[in-house]
């Protein structure tokens, strides 16, 4: 989990000042100018957490945000008091093709709240777009026979086209129950 110690001292000071004022959303938007490119994402996540941003706030920030702002919202969701009300943001990110958004969307919040059908498709999309499945939270707990079938079909399609099968396919197949391989018990 990110903490203030992940920020350089000047960015930490900027975080404290932003949270004391009533205009932290403007600091969130202008993060790159305030603390530089390197620290901007951590700064944004900690701002959201420090402000205890609710579902309406994160929805507004996400919908009017650029890709950097959207990533920060997705990364902060597991630690915000939003229940499952921010699920539409995760689903929006999973419809995008931005690998940075997909990666941020498949973390612990999706692991807890995303339904099984959409979650399986999120894993497949990671494999398809090259997002490492290491980013997927709860992978071992949620990988099931249907996901194994989907990945096996994807691998067969790649093989038929003479294209390489991503190494994450066998990684995930190894996590699924033995029955998922199609063999009779």
């Amino acid at each position: 989990m990110l903490t203030e110690t992940d920020l350089p001292p000047d960015a930490r000071a900027a975080l404290g000042a932003a949270l004391e004022g009533d205009a932290w959303e403007r600091e969130f938007i202008a993060a790159r100018r305030r603390v530089g490119r390197e620290a901007a994402e951590t700064f944004r996540v900690l701002l959201l957490r420090g402000a205890r941003a609710d579902a309406a706030t994160v929805t507004r920030l996400y919908e009017r945000g650029d890709a950097g702002e959207r990533r920060a919202v997705l990364l902060a969701l597991p630690d915000l008091p939003v229940g499952d009300a921010a699920l539409p943001l995760v689903e929006d990110a999973l419809r995008a093709n931005d690998t940075g958004l997909i990666e941020a969307a498949v973390g612990p919040y999706a692991g807890r709240h995303l339904d099984q059908h959409l979650w399986r498709h999120a894993v497949l999309k990671c494999v398809f777009t090259g997002v490492p499945v290491a980013a997927v939270a709860s992978l071992a707990e949620r990988a099931d026979a249907e996901l194994a079938r989907m990945l096996a079909d994807f691998a067969a399609e790649r093989a038929a086209a003479g294209r390489p099968v991503p190494p994450d396919v066998p990684t995930v197949l190894a996590l699924t129950p033995p029955a998922a391989t199609g063999q009779e018990a």
Partner: protein, 291 residues
């Protein structure tokens, strides 16, 4: 020759244009928010457009080694459409984004009361967000339009050196020069200015506060007009340094007043060769190597 095109609508252009522009020396550009050649019907249409100016176009440009920045505004034409005017309430959030280097294009089209309101309101936003302003001058009734524009600018309190009045020509340049504003010239194949007329104006008025742009868009236009002006300047006896001043240092100085023109910054959007995962380099092998 290094070139900064201070006004070009890349969302209407192709990757062939980006490739040709980079080969011609274009290393940076500003895409001002304007209309689409046909009317928008809702605020949402603007927001999608702003997302494009703040994301997709910078990514496309970066793939060709070009830094893409933008200006954000409600344009003069659509300031008259009640379906569009509410976008004014959305602007403050977008004017805070890191890639926004001015408020624009604002100004007059038909000089209506609705345009008066949008212009004054957005000049106020420029003051509040500490941004310069890019002001379009009307294509019809241009001298009267410029006069009214300069009056509203003076009343706004925005310093003239933080304002560029664009689409000037032989008829309007003297008045614009007197105002202390930056002077923008759009060089087109048929209309507005051409490169030889541009050189004559540079000879008469000098190089101070002059911005030369292609204003290329969805109409008949040429994204390489900046290069052609540079060549015409050299042929007319201007030095390489003169050309660099007009085509690079002047636009850097004008938009640099935003405090956000960080042209050296690495663009994280291109780190993996894709933007929103959708590689624009179609046909390139989609290998997730190393990922």
């Amino acid at each position: 020759m290094r070139i900064f095109d201070p006004h070009i609508h890349m969302s209407s252009r192709t990757t062939d244009d980006y490739e040709a522009m980079r080969a011609a020396g274009v290393e940076a550009l500003v895409e001002p928010a304007f209309w689409l050649g046909q009317p928008r019907t809702s605020v949402g249409s603007f927001l999608d457009y702003f997302d494009s100016l703040l994301g997709w176009e910078p990514y496309r440009a970066a793939q060709y080694g070009i830094a893409h920045r933008c200006t954000i505004a409600l344009n003069p034409k659509e300031a008259n459409d009640p379906r569009c005017v509410p976008v004014l309430d959305e602007l403050p959030r977008y004017l805070d984004k890191d890639n926004v280097v001015a408020v624009g294009e604002i100004g007059y089209d038909s000089m209506t009361p609705a345009e008066d309101h949008a212009l004054a309101f957005q000049l106020e936003l420029a003051l509040r967000h500490e941004l310069p302003a890019l002001v379009h001058t009307p294509h019809r009734d241009k001298p009267a339009g410029l006069e009214r524009t300069l009056a509203v600018v003076a009343e706004s309190g925005l310093a003239p050196e933080r304002v560029a009045v664009d689409h000037l020509n032989e008829v309007t340049v003297a008045r614009a020069a007197d105002s202390g504003c930056w002077m923008g010239f759009s060089v087109y194949p048929d209309t507005k200015m051409d490169e030889d007329r541009m050189v004559r104006i540079l000879k008469e008025y000098g190089l101070d506060r002059v911005l030369v742009n292609s204003a290329a868009d969805w109409g008949r236009s040429d994204p390489l007009k900046t290069l052609k002006v540079g060549k015409a300047m050299l042929a007319a006896g201007f030095t390489d340094d003169d050309v660099d001043r007009v085509l690079w240092r002047n636009p850097v100085a004008f938009y640099g007043q935003s405090g956000r023109l960080d042209l050296d910054a690495p663009d994280e959007a291109v780190s993996d060769g894709t933007f929103e995962g959708n590689s624009i380099l179609r046909g390139a092998p989609a290998t997730p190597a190393g990922r």
